[in-house]
Each structure stands twice: as structure tokens, then as C-alpha cells.
């Protein structure tokens, strides 16, 4: 994973091993499905520590493929900067009938 600049805000994301669902590192090193509950890390040290937690969870076969994403803080919590990561966090924009947008957040903004 890239080293982040000191002012960058990041979240750690992965896929849950058993069902592939997108998860984020949340409180108490638990993995949560909602990005609104994800912990935000700032600064190289915090991000490195979070990355290590991700790698441990990968080895522990809870999740796979952990990586850090840039986020900004929105009114309901972290929002990914990159569009691709927004879709990954909030679901396919084309199927809001089946996959509900997460908690009122809409990707198409």
C-alpha cells in the first residue's frame, strides 16, 4: 500500500471472505458493511497501523484483499474520493431497485 501524505484521510476496505461483501475497518478492529461506520485514519502512522490490522485479518481469513482508500468526511461519515470506490461502497448505480443505496447516500451526486 502507498504511504499516505500526512493530511490524507483514509479508510481500510476489503472483501469479506465468506460472502465477498465489501467491508470496512470499523471500531474495535471489527469489519463493518457500512462505510458510515468505518474508522477514518489520518497520517502515515495511523494508516500504517490500520494497514497492519488489515493484513492480520487477511491472514486470519476473515477478509481478503485489504487496501486503503482516500476519503473525505461527509455528514454521515466517510465518503470515498474516487468514483470507483464510491460505487464499491454504495452499490451499483444501475440497480437501486435491488441493492438499496446505503442509508440514503447516493452515488450519483
Amino acid at each position: 500500500m502507498q504511504k499516505a501524505a500526512a493530511s490524507t484521510l483514509q479508510t481500510i476496505t476489503a472483501n469479506r471472505l465468506s460472502d465477498g461483501i465489501v467491508v470496512f475497518l470499523g471500531a474495535h478492529d471489527r469489519w463493518v458493511e457500512r462505510i458510515t461506520e468505518a474508522r477514518v485514519f489520518e497520517g502515515a502512522e495511523a494508516i500504517a497501523a490500520a494497514t497492519a490490522v488489515g493484513e492480520a485479518a487477511n491472514r486470519a481469513r476473515l477478509i481478503l484483499g485489504p487496501y486503503a482508500i482516500d476519503v473525505t468526511t461527509g455528514p454521515r461519515g466517510p465518503v470515498p474520493v474516487r468514483f470507483r470506490e464510491k460505487i464499491r461502497a454504495f452499490g451499483p448505480t444501475a440497480r437501486t431497485d435491488v441493492v438499496a443505496p446505503a442509508f440514503g447516500e447516493s452515488v450519483a451526486a
Binding site: L17, D19, R61, R88
Partner: protein
């Protein structure tokens, strides 16, 4: 339809058990993702943007109502109630849990289906004309040889670790509806001088980052010798195909870099070693497999149906549907019907579990229990009596599956794009939806005539945009979705790769751009009988560029 014999059934069961064990070891931690990944790919399990994705093989796009009902059940019980039919005649599920996939595979095995070799560097699903066995212009049904190829290519020990994926397509008709010139190997069924069946062998076609039209490597190989010849091609590829660069590893690159004459010489040399040996398929064996594909017993009917003609006269919607979605059948009084999975404003190729069940019911009641998936992401009832068309149409209307747009501008092919795919740079589905909505009027579409729009969300070209009359390629331009437009692609015997016409467009500009292109066509066409592609070839790109970009 081909039924598994004891060997097939045993093999699929064993493979399912093996994968069940592999999944268990992955979930328990005995296998790392690195170790597991090649194993899951051999069983059609991907990891995509949101979840795992399971790609189930539908050999040469043919399935029974029983099989379609199982696909519906899987969508309902193990996924989010829908599935996606693909440009290789397969089905994809976007939300299966890894822990459930062994059970899904067991259910599929119960109906003689599987997900083997739908991913990975091996020989993939062999596709065929979706009207195979029914089409009036057919020389012979290509599905028996597609079945022979399927058996030969399944877990072929020598070809399980190719430089890259390998795709084969077969056409059995004078008109190529299988896009054989854009496959690694494309086969065109022809009659030999003595009337026996043989094949033209086209090698080195493909789309993706470097689209190429295949070369006719061998103008005729007898049917009994086809496997030996295919083996020769695969051996040359396996030996000389590049393994240093994933983006230069397809056979099309090998053909391009080696040169047509030299690659032909290599293949013929290898074939000379194999000819007449254990790969010769005895004629009796071909007859045995052909017996699985004989036409269902269709009671003779008058060529024209009074029932249908009367119904059409009083129902304009039915009349439009018949004009657009029926294809001439070799048996008088019958037709092949396209069930469009491109509802206006909808997601191309998606079907709900309820729709799948309903289509299965229709196949059973009216279709001699046979269904097809086309590489254009639609479903086909290959055998329907003309007399039954009004009833079938009424049922399709009630399910939202009666869109009369086969081959028209809203019959769009679109890859899943950035909404689903980890490889994508841009979304393709919303582009398809916006174009579909813009051109939704049924009569307007009819007036425009045959026009294929194909959309890919990245340069891997899974939406086949290179062979769209209008192709749209989504790219990432500094973090923003941006769309390049190509014109003039064609997948059939008049094969052509579309060319970019100029500067790209933002998502909300795309429908206007397409409309400008369509309006230009309407202005330049000789008459309504001159379709878009022919008009484009006649007048060239200049009028379209002028209309879109103005004089420079």
C-alpha cells in the same frame, strides 16, 4: 438436446466435490487467496467490485426449461433475484456467497450444468449461432460439432494452462451470427466437394485492447478431422504464445507477430503429425451426437398462419413485434422468436428469477422445451408455431419481455461496466439506459432500421464495442467518466473494426451524440431500405464527423 452420459455426470459431480473441499479449506484458512485464486477461476468464480461473481456455462447457448428454472432458483435463493446473460451465451450471478457456491454447483449438476472453464487460461464456452437447428438459411446445425468440441476441450490435460483464455465460435449458416472472425478460432460449416460436412478454420480474431480480424488459415477441413486440426492450432499456441505479457498473450498476437503464412505452416506441420490418429472422430460418433440435436417433432403447418395474420391486423403492437422479433424457420409454419432482454430504459441482458421462470414455462408450453441465449444478451425460443405467436406475445407482454427491438437501436449490448466490474474505467449500463430511453419509441426505431450499438466500460471490450455499428468505449479521463465513439464495426462475414470518429463525450452528452449520428444517417440514406451500416460505408465518416464536430 445433449444429455450427459454417465461419464459426464460423474465428472461434474467429482469436480463439484473437489471444489467443495477447496472452498472449505479456503474458508478454514488452509488455503491462501493466492493458492485458491487459480482454483476458483477454473470453476468460474470471480471476485468483482461488490462481491464474488459466478459465471455458469450454457454450452452453445442452449438450455431446457428445467435448466432455466434452476437458474431462476439460484437467482432467487442464492443471489438478489436476478441474473445477467452474457456476450458469450453464459449467465452471471453477481452476489453469490463463497460458502454457498458448492451448494449452487450441486444444484447445477442436478440439471447437467456447471461453471467449469468459464474463467482462467483455458478453452472457454464454445458459442454458436443462437438460431442453430432452426434457421431457414442454415447449412447444418453447428451444435453437434460444438458439443464435440466441448467434450474435447473440457479438462483437456495439455491445454489447462494456456498463455491466456481461448474462445471458439461456430457458425452453421450462410449468414454468420456467431461473429466467428472475432474469436481465437472461428469455424464456418461448409459442404465439401462430395457433400460431406467440413469447416473453414479462422484463427486469431479477437477484440479487447487490440482488435483483430481472424485469418482464414484453412479453407476446408473434413468434420472427422476437425479435432485433430484444432489440437494442432492449440499446440502451436500453447508452445509459442507469449507468456511474458498478459496483454500480448492471445493467439491473435501470435498470428500477427508470426505472420499468416508462417503460422499456417506451423499448424499444418503439427496437423500432419496428428492427422488420422486418435483425434479422428469416427463418423458414427458424430452421428450419435447429432441424434441428440434432431429437430423436435413439429406437426406440419401451413406456411402462413391465419390465426397470426388476423391477430396482427387488429393489434399494432403484435404486428411490430412480429416484424422485428421473428426469424425465418426452416420448417414451414414455424418461427424463431427473440425475447428481448433490453426493455426501454432497462439493463441489457438482465432477467429476474420470475422472468426466467416465466420464459421456462413458455418454452415448455409453446417452444418444444428449448431455449437459447444469444451473444447479444437476449433469449430465444427457437421453435414456435406461428399459430401460437399471439398467445406467446400476450404472455411476454404480461412479463415485460415483449420489447419489439431485436436488431434495432435499443437492442444494445453493454458490459456490466464500472457498476459491477473490477476492471472497468467507466459505467456502461446508465449509458445504455439513456440511449434506450432517447430512442424508445417503437415506430421511430423501426424507421431507423437495423442499427447495433455496443458499449464497453473499458478497453477489454467485453461489450464488443469494436464490432458495433456504433461503438461506445468508456474511459477514465482524469477521474471523470468519458466516452469515445466508434463507427462502422461489423461482426459478421463483412467483418470490420469500428474507428474512432473524434473527440469523446461526457455521459450526459452521449444520447445527443448518438441522436446526431442517427439524424445524419436519416439525412444521407438513399431510401429507408438502405440500413445504417451500408449508408455509412457508402458516404464515409465525413458527414457524421461534420455533424458532430462541425467544420475545422
Amino acid at each position: 438436446m445433449y444429455r450427459y452420459d454417465e461419464f459426464d455426470a460423474a465428472f461434474v459431480r467429482q469436480r463439484t466435490e473437489q471444489f467443495t473441499d477447496q472452498v472449505a479449506r479456503r474458508l478454514s484458512g488452509e488455503l491462501s487467496e493466492e493458492e485458491f485464486r487459480p482454483l476458483r477461476l477454473m470453476n468460474g468464480v470471480y471476485l468483482q467490485l461488490h462481491a464474488y461473481m459466478l459465471r455458469v456455462a450454457i454450452p452453445y447457448g442452449t438450455l431446457s426449461s428445467r435448466q432455466m428454472r434452476m437458474l431462476a432458483r439460484i437467482a432467487r435463493e442464492f443471489d438478489k433475484g436476478y441474473g445477467h446473460f452474457t456476450t458469450r451465451q453464459n449467465i452471471q450471478y453477481n452476489w453469490p456467497a463463497l460458502r454457498d457456491i458448492p451448494e449452487v454447483l450441486r444444484l447445477l449438476a442436478d440439471v447437467e450444468m456447471h461453471a467449469i472453464q468459464t474463467s482462467g487460461n483455458c478453452i472457454r464456452n464454445t458459442t454458436a449461432d443462437h438460431f442453430a437447428g432452426a434457421a431457414a438459411d442454415e447449412i447444418a446445425d453447428p451444435r453437434p460439432i460444438a458439443e464435440v468440441i466441448r467434450q474435447w476441450s473440457s479438462i483437456h490435460p495439455e491445454f489447462s494452462f494456456l498463455p491466456r483464455k481461448f474462445k471458439i465460435a461456430v457458425s452453421g449458416a450462410a449468414t454468420d451470427r456467431a461473429a466467428i472472425r472475432f474469436h481465437d478460432i472461428g469455424l464456418q460449416l461448409v459442404r465439401g466437394p462430395d457433400g460431406g460436412k467440413g469447416y473453414e478454420v479462422w484463427v486469431g480474431g479477437g477484440q479487447g485492447r487490440t482488435p483483430m480480424i481472424a485469418k482464414l488459415i484453412r479453407p476446408f477441413i473434413e468434420e472427422t478431422e476437425l479435432l485433430a486440426y484444432l489440437e494442432a492450432v492449440l499446440r502451436v499456441y500453447n508452445r509459442y504464445g507469449r507468456r511474458d505479457n498478459k496483454y500480448k498473450a492471445r493467439i491473435k498476437i501470435l498470428v500477427h507477430e508470426t505472420g499468416e503464412a508462417d503460422i499456417r505452416a506451423d499448424i499444418e506441420e503439427e496437423y500432419a503429425r496428428l492427422k488420422g490418429g486418435s483425434l479422428t472422430v469416427p463418423a458414427e460418433e458424430i452421428r450419435r451426437i447429432e441424434a441428440y440435436f434432431t429437430l423436435p417433432a413439429m406437426p406440419p403447418r401451413p406456411e402462413a398462419s391465419e390465426t397470426l395474420d388476423t391477430a396482427r391486423a387488429s393489434d399494432p403492437a403484435l404486428a411490430l413485434f412480429c416484424a422485428q422479433n421473428l426469424h425465418p424457420h426452416r420448417v414451414p409454419g414455424y418461427t424463431s422468436m427473440t425475447i428481448s432482454l433490453k426493455p426501454i430504459g432497462g439493463i441489457p441482458g438482465d432477467a429476474t428469477a420470475e422472468q426466467m421462470d416465466a420464459v421456462a414455462d413458455l418454452a415448455e408450453a409453446f417452444g418444444f422445451d428449448e431455449l437459447r441465449v444469444s451473444h447479444e444478451q437476449n433469449l430465444i425460443l427457437p421453435h414456435v408455431a406461428l399459430d401460437d405467436v399471439p398467445d406467446v406475445f400476450a404472455r411476454l407482454v404480461s412479463m415485460g419481455l415483449a420489447t419489439a427491438n431485436a436488431g434495432l437501436v435499443t437492442d444494445i449490448i453493454a458490459c456490466p461496466g464500472l457498476d459491477y466490474c473490477a476492471l472497468a474505467n467507466a459505467r456502461s449500463i446508465p449509458i445504455a439506459q439513456s440511449i434506450s430511453e432517447r430512442f424508445g419509441d417503437a415506430q421511430r426505431q423501426r424507421d431507423i432500421g437495423p442499427l447495433s450499438v455496443k458499449i464497453s466500460g473499458c478497453i477489454n471490450a467485453c461489450g464488443h464495442h469494436h464490432v458495433g455499428h456504433i461503438g461506445i468505449l468508456g474511459v477514465d479521463r482524469k477521474g471523470e467518466e468519458f466516452y469515445q465513439i466508434t463507427l462502422g464495426g461489423a461482426p459478421g462475414a463483412d467483418a470490420a473494426i469500428g474507428s474512432i470518429i473524434g473527440h469523446g463525450f461526457l455521459a450526459d452528452q452521449v444520447p445527443d451524440a448518438i441522436e446526431t449520428i442517427v439524424d445524419t444517417y436519416l439525412a444521407v440514406r438513399r431510401d429507408p431500405a438502405e440500413p445504417f451500416l451500408l449508408a455509412l460505408r457508402r458516404v464515409g465518416e465525413a458527414p457524421f464527423k461534420e455533424a458532430l464536430y462541425g467544420t475545422r
